[in-house]
Each structure stands twice: as structure tokens, then as C-alpha cells.
């Protein structure tokens, strides 16, 4: 596979020279072809198939039977489904609220030139290198009410029934998500903070602004575009959270943490109701698209200007 793709890339690479000699400086469609082919094959085709499946009744045996709007009417009458959308949004919002301040502070700190900074940054980065599954198993064990941390810190955890009640279970999901993904966003902010021109700080210093003032009046405004990028990534990640739920709560207690992505899995691969599962998947696509559009609109990401204008 690799060799064939490389060959195609090599063929494609020869083109700019010929182009330039022909006097045309714009790459043609062929450049995008390998990526487009993969995208169509593994994203567009499945999406269309899912859309078709959502109008059928199929348990994986035999061929799907056309069921009209059955799955969709059932979906909108299903309290678990509506609740799952709300839970997905809640976990996403909580994730953004927890991770953003932490990663901005860590990122700006890591952009500096302090002693031991590189070593500490490397350590902070470790959670990102672990698989979400391993992270979830680790925290599940650490938070065991009888043999984990809660049993030794009763003043903080009470009876340790973290995963047995809704607020506790959501808290654990948000915490574990933040523990794993804050390093990634820290990295983004670190890069962005490094790119802020030093002259701005030098000028501020001459004007007598302290560190705190510099942070709020130079660093934060300069990080605005980065914040939006990072938040969009958090929103997408939050809406598609799955592995932590699968391992930590299995959607429980009851349906208290059954978020949409997990509910889709339950319907399709636990109950073998692929029609209903597809309908949920499609709904999730629509909801995620709408939310991204809203974020882009509200943040002004679509008409974004350079933040170093005039320098």
C-alpha cells in the first residue's frame, strides 16, 4: 500500500516543474486526488450508507428491510436519545471550561525560558501518549471505592460512590478527559505564545506594565485565534467521546452518562439494531455540524484577520 501511494505522490511531484514551464502556477485537481479518494471511500461512502441504513430495519442478518421513517419517529420519542444529546453537550461544555484555562496557563508558562521548563513540559506531555483505553482503565482502578484512593481519603470522597451517581460519573468523565487532553492543548498554546512578537512585551515593559497586565493585555488577545482553534478541537473531541464512557461508566448508572456516541454503539452493536444506530449517527453528524457552524460564526473565525497586523 505504502509503495503504491508513494509512487503516485512521486508522479504528482513532477508536475509543478511542467506547470511552471507552461506558465500556470496553480496546482490542479490531481493533487487532491489521493486524499479525495480516501475521503470518499472511507468518509463519504460510509456516510451515505449510514443515511440509507437509517431508513431500514436490520439486525445484521440477511438484507436490510425498508422501514420508512420508523427509526426516526422512534428516535424523537425516545427520552434516552434526547437526554443523551443533552449529556453530550454538557460533557463537551464542561470539558472546554476545565481544559481551556488550564492549558492556556500551562502553555504560556511552557513558552518561557525558565529553568527545568523543558523537563517539566515533557512530563506534562506524557498523558497524551497513552491510549484513552489505558487511561480509563488506570483511573477506574485508582478511583475504586474500596481499594483505590477514595478508601484512603474518606473526608474528600465520602463513601467513594463516584461512578454510582450521575454527578460523580460525569465529573470523573470530564476529569479523565481533561487529564488526557490538556497536554495537547497546552502544546498548541505553547506554540502560539512563542509566536507572539517580543517587541510587544518590551514596549509594555517600558510603559511599566507588570507580568499580570502583560498576560491579560498582550498574551490573551494575541492567543484569540488559537483559542478558537483549540476550542473547536475540544468540541469535536467532546461530542465524539466514547472510549472513556465505554470503560469507566458503560453509560451508567442507568442511562445517566449514556451520551449520544455511546448510545449509538449500544443500539448498533449491543442490541444489533443497525437502523436505529445509523439514525443516531446521522443525528450526531447534524448536531456536530450545526455546533461547529455556530462556533465559527460567533467567534468570527470565518473572517479572521491576522493578529500581528501593523507590525
Amino acid at each position: 500500500m505504502t509503495t503504491t501511494v508513494t509512487k503516485a505522490a512521486v508522479v504528482a511531484e513532477r508536475r509543478p516543474a511542467q506547470r511552471r514551464s507552461a506558465g500556470v502556477g496553480r496546482p490542479g485537481f490531481a493533487w487532491a486526488l489521493p486524499a479525495t479518494a480516501f475521503f470518499v471511500l472511507f468518509a463519504v461512502v460510509p456516510l451515505v450508507l449510514v443515511a440509507v441504513l437509517s431508513f431500514t430495519s436490520w439486525n445484521g442478518l440477511g438484507s436490510p428491510r425498508f422501514a420508512g421513517l420508523d427509526n426516526w419517529t422512534k428516535l424523537f420519542d425516545d427520552p434516552v436519545m434526547l437526554n443523551s444529546l443533552w449529556l453530550s453537550v454538557l460533557i463537551t461544555v464542561l470539558g472546554v471550561l476545565v481544559q481551556t484555562p488550564l492549558s492556556i496557563l500551562l502553555g504560556v508558562w511552557a513558552a518561557g525560558r525558565q529553568r527545568n521548563r523543558a523537563i517539566l513540559s515533557a512530563i506534562y506531555f506524557v498523558p497524551l501518549l497513552l491510549s484513552a483505553t489505558a487511561v480509563s482503565v488506570l483511573w477506574r482502578t485508582l478511583l475504586d471505592p474500596n481499594f483505590g484512593v477514595p478508601s484512603q481519603a474518606k473526608w474528600l470522597f465520602g463513601d467513594g460512590n463516584l461512578l454510582g451517581m450521575q454527578s460523580g460519573a460525569i465529573g470523573v468523565l470530564v476529569f479523565v478527559g481533561a487529564w488526557q487532553f490538556t497536554p495537547f492543548h497546552t502544546l498548541i498554546y505553547q506554540g502560539a505564545a512563542r509566536a507572539i512578537p517580543q517587541v510587544l512585551y518590551q514596549a509594555a515593559q517600558i510603559d511599566g506594565a507588570g507580568t499580570v497586565r502583560q498576560f491579560f493585555h498582550i498574551t490573551l488577545p494575541q492567543l484569540r485565534n488559537t483559542m478558537i482553534t483549540s476550542m473547536i478541537l475540544m468540541v469535536v473531541g467532546g461530542l465524539t467521546t466514547f472510549d472513556t464512557v465505554l470503560i469507566l461508566t458503560q453509560g451508567g448508572p442507568g442511562t445517566d452518562t449514556t451520551i449520544s456516541a455511546y448510545y449509538m454503539y449500544q443500539k448498533a452493536f449491543k442490541s444489533f439494531d443497525f437502523g436505529a444506530g445509523s439514525a443516531i449517527a446521522l443525528l450526531l453528524v447534524v448536531v456536530a455540524t450545526v455546533i461547529s457552524l455556530v462556533v465559527v460564526r460567533v467567534s468570527g473565525y470565518d473572517k479572521m484577520r491576522s493578529s500581528v497586523e501593523g507590525l
Binding site: M1, T4, V5, K7, A8, V11, A12, R15, Q18, R19, A22, V24, G28, F29, A30, L33, P34, A37, L41, N59, G60, L61, G62, R140, T141, L143, D144, P145, N146, F147, D159, G160, N161, L162, L163, G164, M165, Q250, G251, G252, P253, G254, T255, D256, Q266, F269, K270, S271, F272, D273
Partner: protein
Amino acid sequence: MKTPARISRAVAAGVALALGLTLSACGGGSSDSAGGGGSDKIHVLVYGDAANKVEKQLVATFNKTSKVKAVLDTIPGADYQQKLQTIISTPQAPDIFFNWGGGSIKPFVDADLLLPLDDFIKKDPALKSSFLPSVFDSATVNGKPYGVPMRGTQPVLLFNNKKVLADAGVTPPKTWDDLLGAVKALKAKGVTPIALGGGDQWPTLMWFEYLYDRVAGPDVFQKALGGDKSAWESAGSKKALGMIRKLVDAGAFGTNYDSVKFTDQGSPTLLATGKAGFELMGSWEYSTQQDSHPAFAKKDLGYSSFPTVAGGTGDAGNLVGNTNNFYSVMKKTKHPEAVAAFLKLQYSDEFVKAQLGIGNLPTTTNTEKFLGTSASPAYSKYQFDLVKKAPSFQLSWDQAYPQSASTPMHQAVQQFFNGGLDTDGFIKAMQALPTA
């Protein structure tokens, strides 16, 4: 403009060709790997775990004499049902496959994929009569037998920590009132009376299975399973739910049971370390404890059957649990004779001895002869007598119902325990389950 256009077409064709080749290459590799009923082979698909040792041995025995050779395929871990569902209607389907009987094969029967075993049994009556009837019947769908028992039976028992019970002056309970008394005494000692892996949900379900049986008899659940949803509203059903509610409210399970799991050793460790007095669990609790707490399993692990309920109609000898695992046969197998011959091995002396050797308890009529050779003879004999004498052996509810019911069923029992559903809510949730 001409040159670039031609080049992009060439590149496009090249990429398409490359993609096509790699895809077909991917497909080519797997075409021969399973192949249901290849010319001179039968494929046997089983759940991949430690018990495969016996299955390998039996396949080897079979292949010594048979012209048609058997091939053992395994699917490891908990994904068995999912993967089976995806291959069973494809050419990759096996000839014979492992299952849990009841609801786990009902969809396959409905899709007309399975072979009823009537003809096999007519030719070889021992294929049915060699097994305990209560077990054999749980793979009967629409009145026809579709499975032959393999591996062992796993009734649910009330396990206890003898030392904890003795310290609190408690004996294994014979009646429900005994159990309530024991709960009080253990609580007074500062011990969680009953360990429960509520995070897994299915351990919670076991309490419903037994209480419904003891209070209202096995028929109520059978009626509900048959599609008569009014069974869930019956007086017996409501009484059983009321008793469960009282037990939970009495603090029998402590407060954090939903954060504990059986599958990650949480609840068995509670029992083994003396932090809990009882645990209601399938017979595999014994081997689990032998693995992780051998000293405890040898000295202090006690077991008894579920207590009776005064005024209840269910027989004290009734059991619930996994009646057995089964082999079912695909309709399209090309070698029915070879398959029949292979199934005969499932009640052979060799099979029984090998299963007992790895701690499983087969349900053949000749098992009794060999109980002495088991890894833990007293425990095997105790279980075998229970199963043999049981007037009814109810397959676990989540396996008796179709697959699509198991998630909502698990959610409902968990919510009833934690107060998220009241009696009426629970009854409604159970009535909403698909039955066929």
C-alpha cells in the same frame, strides 16, 4: 492546458489502479481462512478462553477417525457475539458454533440459518437423552432443539465468607428472613453485608431472577418472555420488587455498589478480604477466587443455594444462571453426517473427564461417575446434585430475552436499585422490552 489535463488523467488512473490493487489484495488474504463447509472440512467456532484446551483435544480425537476433518476457530474475549453476528450470514460462517442457547440463537433461527436437530436425535436418541433435561431444553427454540450442551453448567449460588459469618454469629440463610437477620448482624459488625458488582449490571439482575422465582415461581417470567406483558404487573412481580426494595434500603449492599465491578475483581476481593459477608454469583466465583485468592478459596469460601421465601410459590430447589453453553449447527453445512458424529463426542467419557479436569461441570448423565476426578470434587458434586434435582433451571434473563433487550434490561435493574425507577417505572421498562 492540454498537457496538465492528460497528466492528471494519468495520475488519476494510476491512483485508482493502485487503490484497486491494494483493496483486492486485502480481500484476497482472508478468503480461505474460514470458509464454511469447505470441500472436506467442518469449521467449529468457539469462544476463545482457557476452556479451548478441551475443545482442541476433542477436535484432535475426532480427526483421528473422521475422513472429514474438523478445524477449530476461536474468537477471543467478550466480542464473541458481535463478531458471530457479523459473519454468520456470510460465506465465512462456521458449520458448528458455540452459543448460550435461548435468546442468543433466536435471531438466527428466525433468519432460517440453523439446522433443527430433530433428525440427528432420531438417528441417535442419546444425543438428547445423555443430557440433563433442564439443561438441554434451554436451547429449544419454537419447540425444536437447536443446541447440544458443551462445556459446563453455571448455576448462581449465594457465596459467603465463612470467617466473617462466624464472627457475626451468622449461618448461611435458609429463608429470606434469615437473610434479613444476617444483613442486620453483619451491618452491626461494620461489614458490608452483601458484595455486589453493580457497575457490571448483570450481577444486580441475578437478585431479580431469584426473587421472582422464589416469590412467584418460574412461570411468571416464562409468561412475560412468551409475550404476555401483564405478567410484570402481577401481584407476585410487585411483591418481589417490594422485597428487593426493602433489602436495598436496609443497606444490604452498602452505598457504593454501583462503583464496584465483578469483572475487575472488585466485588470478589471484597468477599475474600472479609469486607463483605455474601456475594450472589455464578458458580465461576469459585474458580475466580481460586485464581486470585487461593488461600481464601480453600479455607473460608462457603456456598449455599438461594434462600426460600415464606408464602412464595417457587420451589426451593429452583435454579437460575447459565444453564450451559451449546453447539448449534448451520443449516447450510455440507457435511451433516460429520457434524452429527462430532456432536456425539459431547457426551463421551473423554469429554466429561477433560471438562472436569479444567474445573467445568458438564451436564451429561455420565458426569456423576467421574465427579471424583474433578479439580474440587465436593464443590462439583454439590452443584451437580442441585442441577440434577432442580425442578426448574431458568436461563439468565438477559440471555433468555433477545439480544436487543439486554441493554435496557440492565439499565432498568440498575435504576431500580439506585432509586431512579420506582416499582411502576420498572414494570413499564420491562414491559417495553422486545420479546420476539
